[in-house]
């Protein structure tokens, strides 16, 4: 396998903590291998910065295989970078050309305060789940698994929504910073399954309420969230959420 190297100019948002004002710093990396992942390119930058007594760039990551949802950089204005259906940890440098300038910013939303540099606080998502993103079934109280058949198509639809990795790209990319796709996906996942029925009304009302309390914006149906979602969750999740919300209001 032959590989070519390139020079990449980086413009990275640096911010000490949530209270301080941030600014851009520019760096140039030579010898960027096309087979490197984007995050490995940042690793290499950090190794250099550390040896030069600089302050390494902080960014969130963990599994580096697109499933944990830790990484969430906004690259040249696009959440998770240029490739569709790809989390930034799965993005490789062969998608860039020699001499490119790459601007990296954190996911920006009032509900996602910056912790340091590109690391943001996404605990608002935890609190939305906490409000109702579950089926209340105490350990040990579950019936036999095959007692309730679930239509295969329905199960697949629920699965499509359940694949959300909670990265927050939907919020980052939304012009209004709305968390509707994240919230809608969890509601749609559980409300589509028979197991989710008993709590369906309480769930949607509580989760929508919490989403609003966290300071996320309104959804204006831009569908940018669907475009950046690394697992391709459709905005029909948001339509499902609205429908369930209406149903909940009229269901007594």
């Amino acid at each position: 396998m032959s590989s070519s190297t390139m020079t990449i100019h980086l413009k990275i948002w640096r911010q000490k903590n949530s209270h301080s004002k941030g600014r851009f710093e520019t760096y140039t990396l030579d010898q960027v291998d096309e087979h490197m992942s984007f995050l490995e390119m940042l690793d290499v930058l950090n190794e250099q910065l550390i040896m030069e007594d600089g302050d390494p760039v902080e960014f969130d990551y963990d599994c580096r295989e697109g499933i944990c949802g830790s990484c969430n950089l906004v690259i040249n204005g696009k959440a998770h970078g240029p490739k569709h259906l790809t989390a930034v940890c799965q993005l490789h440098m062969r998608n860039y050309n020699d001499g490119d300038t790459v601007v990296i910013e954190p996911a920006r939303a009032a509900a996602f305060p910056v912790i340091k540099d590109l690391v943001v606080d996404r605990t608002a998502f935890d609190r939305i789940i906490e409000a109702g993103g579950y089926v209340s079934v105490k350990t040990g109280s579950a019936p036999e698994a095959n007692l309730i058949p679930v239509n295969q198509k329905k199960a697949n639809q629920a699965f499509d929504f359940a694949t959300c990795i909670g990265c927050g790209a939907c919020v980052a990319a939304c012009p209004n910073s709305s968390a509707s796709l994240f919230t809608g996906a969890k509601i749609a996942h559980l409300n589509k399954l028979p197991q989710g029925q008993p709590e369906r009304n309480e769930r949607v009302l509580a989760m929508v309420d919490q989403m609003q309390k966290e300071g996320f914006g309104d959804c204006s149906n831009f569908a940018e969230c669907e475009a950046v979602c690394p697992v391709g969750i459709s905005i029909s999740a948001i339509a499902e959420m609205r429908r369930d919300y209406m149903k909940a209001l009229f269901d007594d």
């Binding site: 590989s3 087979h35 550390i50 040896m51 079934v137 579950a142 679930v150 694949t163």
Partner: protein, 639 residues
């Protein structure tokens, strides 16, 4: 140190129910008065935290990720085993037990493994009730598949995201209890020490990864669910933040570390492409159902794969193992890949890869047929490597994947330090010397949902515990020690980064404590690790300060612990003069390269007691003898 496994007496099938009938109970009123610390929010941690809180205990949960949902359990792809026997193909709890204990090469405890097989069915019930979207048949009933060479279809799966879906189920159950106030939830806090008072685990020390604040937490029991230590190799399929620190600090506070040398190496990973490589990506083993593994016969063959004619290809698995061929178990496939690449036949720029070729399968089933089966895996491969596996063979290489070793626990999942419980991959208990596919998820959830909630209650009911109190001097002592280590690391200001040290350590382990091990190599490894560890403490360069978010400082603390664990792994591999499961000692194999187990001398759990560190790691070996009352150990053969 005394190792009492506390396995209940009586017939295998009755041990767990008998134990449940005998353990002490706490009234709801009393449970409310007790608190439990759970460290880690993977399958084991999240399920334990949720279940304990439901019972009424006050639970404090800690994880290093920014959300409990990101624990590394999320990355498990394949599935979860349970002997529901839905396909009516003759499966039973006994068979699941037998396969697991045989798969572990008779190096695990019969009673634990049987209980695992027993409670597995309940896990499926629980997960389905939580809304985990397992695959279903047209009938709407649950689908099963055969996984990892099992003769029955007992694996429940959720596309290639079974770990994710099961973890989200457990995470959501946990968040429900956070909502009720029964759980205090602390993401981005890393456990740095265990506080032991009067021989009992009474709390932990954490570092807040955002503010750097060191904090003390007291409770009646501590449950460690902090995963495996595969990242000691630097490159592994583990998430970047997976580490051994919490378990290792417990070990240094008295908890025995069992079978540290048992490391599972997965044969089908995407190979390393360069020095910058930060982690390895696993591809499902199912690829070996249709792909053929080969290397060029001539190490100097520079031709492209598709230009190499049939007669110049060496299909080494098919030739060496005619009956199993490309479907030999993980360890056999991994070992053979290493052998051929060591002989210079490896392919790719680094020479550390073998071909996994779908040419013949595509000729047989058509490209669309293969796409239907493996489309997403092929896409992932192309995304990472930039090569189209429909046109050129995949390149694969083994990678460290799972660690069967871990903190020693008894039947109740309690370590030898009373009050310290260990669950999931962090303990050593169920997989022996080798883990079967789709068993990790099963074990994590079995421990958390269906074992710990009972056994932990038994411990609390049975103990005379004083009120937890962080004012005790032991807390201050532990906190100061952790702080001192951080200060020491920051003060070195040497010339080599943490990553470089970690990579060098990984190379030593991969070469000498990896797929195959030898006496000479292990002795060399111990020496090399000691030298490198010494250099680490003199020359590591950790940037920044302790008072804010500092990822490289986190890594430095973890790598410091990996350096100590690494030596213990080599020690453990050295003392085990046999080959078993994933542990292959070159001196103990047949002429055909088959592992030779020595049941007479090594049918024991090696549990190590920390004795100190003085240039050399001082550890004392304790043996828990494994007795097989119900199954007869046999030698594996895949010829």
């Amino acid at each position: 140190m005394k190792l009492d496994s506390k396995v209940p007496s009586g017939p295998l099938e009755e041990k767990w129910s008998k134990h449940l009938n005998e353990i002490k109970l706490l009234s709801p009123n009393n449970k409310r008065k007790h608190s439990v610390i759970v460290v880690g929010t993977g399958l084991a941690g999240a399920s334990a935290a949720a279940s304990l809180a439901e019972l009424g205990y006050h639970v404090k949960v800690f994880c290093i990720q920014d959300s409990g949902r990101r624990a590394h359990s999320i990355a498990a792809q394949g599935g979860i085993n349970a002997a529901k026997n839905y396909p009516n193909d003759g499966d039973s709890i006994w068979r699941l037990f037998y396969d697991t204990i045989k798969g572990g090469d008779y190096r695990s405890r019969e009673a634990n493994v049987y209980r695992l097989a027993e409670v597995a069915n309940e896990i499926i019930d629980q997960a389905v009730a939580q809304g985990v979207p397992f695959a279903r048949e047209y009938s709407g009933l649950l689908d099963n598949r055969s996984f990892g060479g099992a003769q029955v279809s007992r694996t429940f799966y959720a596309r290639g995201q079974t770990g994710q879906q099961l973890l989200l189920g457990a995470y959501q159950a946990m968040m429900k209890m956070v909502h009720t106030g029964k759980i205090d939830y602390h993401p981005r806090k890393e456990m740095l020490d265990l506080v032991v008072i009067d021989g009992q685990a009474r709390g932990i020390i954490t570092r807040d990864l955002v503010s750097g604040a060191m904090e003390k937490w007291a409770a009646d029991a501590v449950v460690l669910c902090t995963g495996g230590y595969g990242n000691v190799f630097y490159l592994s399929t583990n998430a970047k933040n997976s580490n051994v620190t919490a378990a290792w600090r417990c070990h240094k506070r008295g908890a025995a570390f069992a079978n540290p040398c048992y490391v599972q190496i997965h044969p089908t990973c995407i190979p390393v492409s360069g020095d910058y490589q930060s982690k390895l990506t696993l591809m499902s083993e199912s690829l070996r159902n249709d792909g053929r593994v080969w290397v060029p016969k001539d190490p100097k063959d520079e031709r492209k794969a598709d230009k190499i004619p049939e007669e110049d290809r060496y299909y080494y698995l098919e030739e060496r193992y005619p009956s199993f061929g490309n479907l030999v178990p993980r360890d056999v496939a991994s070992r053979n890949a290493k052998i051929v690449t060591d002989e210079g036949m490896g392919v790719g720029a680094t020479g550390k890869a073998v071909y996994l070729d779908f040419r013949d399968a595509i000729l047989r089933d058509g490209e669309d047929g293969i796409r239907a089966k493996y489309g997403n895996l092929f896409d992932m491969y192309e995304n990472i490597t930039g090569e189209n596996p429909y046109k050129v063979p995949m390149r694969i290489f083994p990678a460290v994947h799972y660690t069967m070793g871990g903190l020693w626990v008894d039947y109740d999942l309690m370590s030898n330090v009373p009050g310290l419980f260990v669950a999931g991959e962090a303990n050593f208990s169920d997989h022996g010397a080798n883990r079967l596919g789709a068993s990790a998820l099963m074990q994590g959830l079995a421990d958390g949902y269906f074992v710990l909630p009972y056994t932990l209650g038994n411990f609390i009911a049975d103990s005379d515990l004083s009120r937890p109190d962080t004012d005790h001097e032991a807390f201050e002592e532990a906190l100061s020690a952790s702080k001192a280590q951080i200060d020491k690391l920051l003060a070195i200001k040497g010339n080599k980064t943490v990553v470089e040290f970690h990579r060098d350590l990984g190379n030593i382990l991969w070469d000498k404590v990896g797929i195959s091990r030898s006496r000479e190599g292990l002795q060399q490894a111990i020496n090399d690790i000691q030298v490198l560890r010494k250099e680490f403490w003199q020359n590591v360069r950790v940037p920044g300060e302790a008072g804010y978010y500092n990822k490289y400082l986190e890594f430095a603390c973890r790598v410091a612990d990996f350096f100590e664990l690494a030596e213990l792994m080599a020690e453990d591999a050295l003392q085990r003069e046999e080959s078993c499961g994933c542990h292959l000692r070159e001196e103990f194999q047949s002429e055909e390269g088959e592992a030779i187990r020595n049941d007479e001398k090594y049918s024991y759990v090696a549990a190590w007691e920390y004795k100190g560190l003085n240039g050399k790691l001082e550890e004392k070996l304790h043996k828990e003898d494994l007795e097989f009352e119900f199954v007869e150990p046999t030698q594996r053969s895949y010829k």
